[in-house]
């Protein structure tokens, strides 16, 4: 076993990138015992210059010990590394080596990233995903970013998560071109460094990895590809120093023996406990209108409603505004003529279906189908409430008429189950067919995508909910994922009818009016879901609830939820999330906050993020809103909490 062999040359490989803590989830033709074992996913350059993706089980890595078992192994592998296999190969080692999975980059056809960026699948043959990996530490983002430096990819149109390899092995082509593709050092070098540093503050881990991955190539290829450009080593050194010092600020570094264990555990700032306010009262409401009835302080009204809801005595009126039936700035007399117009409109639509003869109906199956769905649901809507209870209750006929008229108003959408649930509280409050109809139209406009034929709107929201939960309550999100409940389907009912089935009539009115304000961010209803789930987190985890128990538990929460407590914690979670130093663009987009363009950060972004970084390192109590201080002039303090408010008048009313 002492003589050298050909192996020694062919096995002269170099790890270009390594990612630890990667679970092998599935692989075609694999031994079962390898599945679910942890290993390292690498991009490797072979002796002959070809590259491949390699997965090595952990027990093998211990043998092959020049790679430290840590996420930052890339640091050690920048240089050329040589494995001499023929030297002291044990039989254990040989079997272990057989367990390595290799995917030559030349053969790679497609890959995709799913499950919240934590799962990666590779394919060398169209139509089959041969291998599936699960990233336990962080996610696949960095790996993908790095892989994209070696293969040119295009995203498929039908699936944003799937990449098709259009040109394998970039670097085997002209190096100049590859550097252009790497998109570094081709721009003004100082800008590059500056951007990297500013990116770094937002996404320290990813940015460093990106930087390292790019530097790997520089180190390896030297200046070959620079094509006469000046030496970049200075900038590189500078970049590294800046990255490393910023890194130390935002991470914990434990020194154990010879290598460093660097763990990035982004945590949210503490959750502020924001008290609910009192409902918008008659006096305040009237005080916010001018003599002719225009509502002057629209944003202020919304703020007040967001804080405390609406007093029941004025709900009938206020809801018409919240549901876009009445424009805020119309005078009383304008509203009267609007109402006349809408009444006529309603009755002409109603006449359309009322005048349909039996014969017509018999030949109009699409209409018939819709009508029968409406009839079935009307008989099953809130029948325990006195307003809808009993046989031959005339209110049921009104409910039916409104829904049928809505079918004519929006025939394509038609009637979808759940709509009667949405309408019932509106009719109950308005007590008037026409007003209820137009308020219903307004509500439906807000949630129309819930009723898409292909349910795309619901699926999208469930995905967004999953992403929010992973950010705001990662432990719970991971538990759900482990229990096959990551798709959040058990929240379907909550989202479809905006919690109508979860709360009493009294409470649903409060919840809805708060949500209609659109404050404090887009998709606040998803944060309400997060708040409810987060309150159950301990039960889910400590009792190790699985798929069925989770669904059962969630369904059984119906009518056991405290609306004020949930709204308060949802608002608290909102503040935690938006002031988190590691807030991602993905979350920003869900919440309707403009994403930070990571390549062209402006100086104000820079200021905010560096402030956030400081916050994370500070003592961290109560400073959650500090980041907003400079952004909003009319930020006022309320019980020690900074709350954005529109005018001082409103503030005075709130007090």
């Amino acid at each position: 076993m002492s003589s050298s062999s050909v192996d020694e040359i062919t096995e002269q490989t170099k790890d270009l990138f390594t990612q630890d803590g990667v679970l092998l989830k599935a692989a075609m033709g694999r031994m079962v015992q390898d599945l679910n074992s942890i290993g390292m996913l690498c991009i490797v350059q072979n002796g002959d210059g070809t590259k491949c993706i390699e997965w090595r089980p952990n027990d093998l890595i211990t043998i092959d010990s020049d790679t430290q078992d840590q996420e930052w192994a890339v640091v050690n592998t920048i240089g050329r590394r040589q494995r001499t296999l023929s030297g002291n190969m044990t039989s254990d080692y040989a079997t272990a080596r057989a367990r390595i999975i290799k995917i030559p980059l030349e053969d790679l056809k497609t890959f995709r990233v799913t499950r919240n960026n934590q799962q990666m699948q590779f394919s060398t043959k169209p139509g089959v995903w041969q291998t599936t990996f699960y990233f336990q530490h962080g996610n696949a983002e960095i790996f993908v970013a790095y892989l994209k430096n070696h293969v040119k990819t295009a995203k498929t149109r039908h699936d944003r998560n799937t990449y098709v390899v259009v040109e394998p092995n970039i670097e085997t082509q002209v190096l100049n071109r590859s550097f252009a593709e790497l998109d570094i050092f081709t721009e003004n070098t100082t800008d590059v460094v500056w951007n990297l540093v500013s990116n770094f503050k937002q996404r320290p881990y990813e940015t460093t990895m990106e930087a390292f991955s790019k530097l790997t190539d520089i180190v390896y290829y030297g200046n070959e590809g620079m094509n006469g450009k000046r030496d970049v080593s200075e900038e590189v050194a500078d970049l590294l120093t800046k990255s490393m010092s910023a890194l130390e600020d935002s991470t914990t570094v434990t020194r154990t023996g010879e290598y460093e264990v660097v763990s990035v555990k982004p945590t949210l700032p503490p959750r502020p406990c924001i008290p609910r306010g009192t409902p918008l009262s008659t006096e305040k409401w009237e005080g916010l209108q001018d003599t002719e009835g225009r509502v002057t302080e629209v944003e202020g009204v919304k703020q007040l409603i967001f804080r405390g809801g609406v007093a029941h005595s004025i709900r009938q009126s206020v809801w018409k505004y919240l549901l876009d039936y009445y424009p805020w700035r119309m005078t009383h007399s304008e509203l009267r003529s609007l109402q006349r117009k809408r009444t006529e409109e309603y009755f002409s639509m109603k006449l359309q279906w009322r005048s349909m003869t039996d014969g017509q109906e018999a030949r109009f199956s699409e209409y018939r189908d819709r009508k029968s769905l409406v009839e079935k649901d009307v008989n099953r809507t809130d029948r325990t409430h006195p307003f809808f209870a009993g046989d031959n209750n005339p209110n049921l006929i009104v409910l039916q008429d409104i829904l049928m008229t809505y079918v004519m108003y929006n025939f394509d959408l038609g009637y979808v189950q759940g709509m009667s649930d949405i309408l019932a509280p509106l009719l109950l409050l308005m007590g008037n067919e026409v007003d209820s109809f137009w308020c219903f139209v307004g509500f439906m406009d807000k949630i129309a995508s819930n009723f898409d034929m292909d349910q795309a709107g619901m699926k999208h929201q469930l995905l967004q909910l999953q992403q929010l939960l992973l950010f705001a309550s990662p432990e719970l999100a991971q538990h759900l994922q482990q229990k096959d409940s990551g798709n959040m389907y058990f929240c379907f009912r909550w989202l479809l009818v905006w919690f109508k089935r979860e709360f009493s009539h009294r409470d649903i009115m409060r919840l809805w009016e708060v949500l209609w304000t659109g404050l404090p961010c887009s998709n606040f209803h998803l944060l309400v879901c997060v708040a409810i789930l987060d309150a159950e987190k301990d039960i889910f985890i400590s009792k190790d609830y699985g798929f069925t128990e989770i669904l059962k538990h969630v369904n059984d929460l119906s009518m056991c939820l405290d609306v004020d407590r949930i709204l308060s914690s949802a608002e608290g979670i909102y503040h935690q999330v938006v002031s988190a130093p590691h807030l991602t663009d993905q979350i920003r987009i869900i919440l309707g906050i403009p994403p930070l363009n990571t390549t062209t950060s402006t100086s104000s972004d820079e200021a905010t993020t560096s402030q956030s970084v400081q916050q994370a390192n500070g003592t961290g109590d109560g400073s959650a809103e500090a980041a907003e201080r400079d952004m909003e002039e009319d930020t006022l303090e309320y019980d020690g909490i900074q709350i954005k408010i529109v005018t001082k008048t409103v503030w005075a009313l709130l007090a």
Binding site: D369, S372, L373, K376, D377, N379, R380, T381, R383, T384, V416, Q417, G418, S420, D421, F451, D452, M453, D454, Q455, M458, K459, N487, Y489, F490, F492, R493, L496, V497, R501, T548, L551, K552, N555
Partner: protein, 210 residues
């Protein structure tokens, strides 16, 4: 905690909106009927443990929303079902015609060996009947599926239907176990344990032992 049953079967109720799936389940699990029951949004399940030839069989019965639009979500719950009740409403021709679509839906989303049964519900409403019992039987023969007319309201054949489906699942399961282990039966428990080891992902693994 010791299990209080010998087997756990996962069953599923599917069929058009309003045919009475929730009512049938309510009848079977609570022995009650409610004319104004709310429509199902999303999915839910109920449990009832029955005695079947000396064995305690825990039935976990899943109830889905019927409207076609929700099918992409509800089919996610088909997985792992061992028995499916296909329900139509004898007073609604359309719901009967749709049984064919539901069967196709099962073929696409449930395991191939799932036990099935067709129920023609609301048979108490004879004056409004649109689908004769003969047509129901004909359809059942065509697909080689058992069939029975039920009434959740009058508690007619609901027990029978669930017991029949459960018994068929149990029989099929025991037959499979024997086939997979031709050695003389010394004890069912032993056999089941083997089976579980051999096919960890099959539906059989969902059967739990005392």
């Amino acid at each position: 905690m010791a299990k209080t049953y010998d087997y756990l079967f996962k069953l599923l109720l599917i069929g058009d909106s309003g045919v009475g799936k929730t009512s049938i389940l309510f009848r079977f699990s609570e022995d009650a009927f409610n004319i104004s029951f709310i429509s199902t949004i999303g999915i839910d399940f109920k449990i009832r443990t029955i005695d079947l030839d000396g064995k305690k069989v825990k039935l976990q019965i899943w109830d889905t929303a019927g409207q076609e639009r929700f099918r992409t979500i509800t089919t996610a719950y088909y997985r792992g079902s061992m028995g499916i009740m296909l329900v139509y409403d004898v007073t609604n021709e359309k719901s009967f015609e749709n049984i064919k679509n539901w069967i196709r839906n099962i073929e696409e989303n449930a395991s191939a060996d799932v036990e099935k049964m067709i129920l023609g519900n609301k048979c108490d409403l004879d004056s409004k009947r649109q689908v004769s019992k003969e047509r129901g039987e004909q359809l059942a023969i065509e697909y080689q599926i058992k069939f029975v007319e039920t009434s959740a309201k009058d508690s007619l054949n609901v027990e029978y239907a669930f017991f029949t489906l459960a018994r068929d699942i149990k029989a099929k399961m025991e037959k499979k176990q024997e086939a997979s282990n031709p050695a003389p039966r010394t004890g069912g428990h032993q056999l089941r344990a083997n089976e579980q080891q051999r096919k960890p992902t099959s539906w059989l693994s969902r059967c739990s032992l005392l």
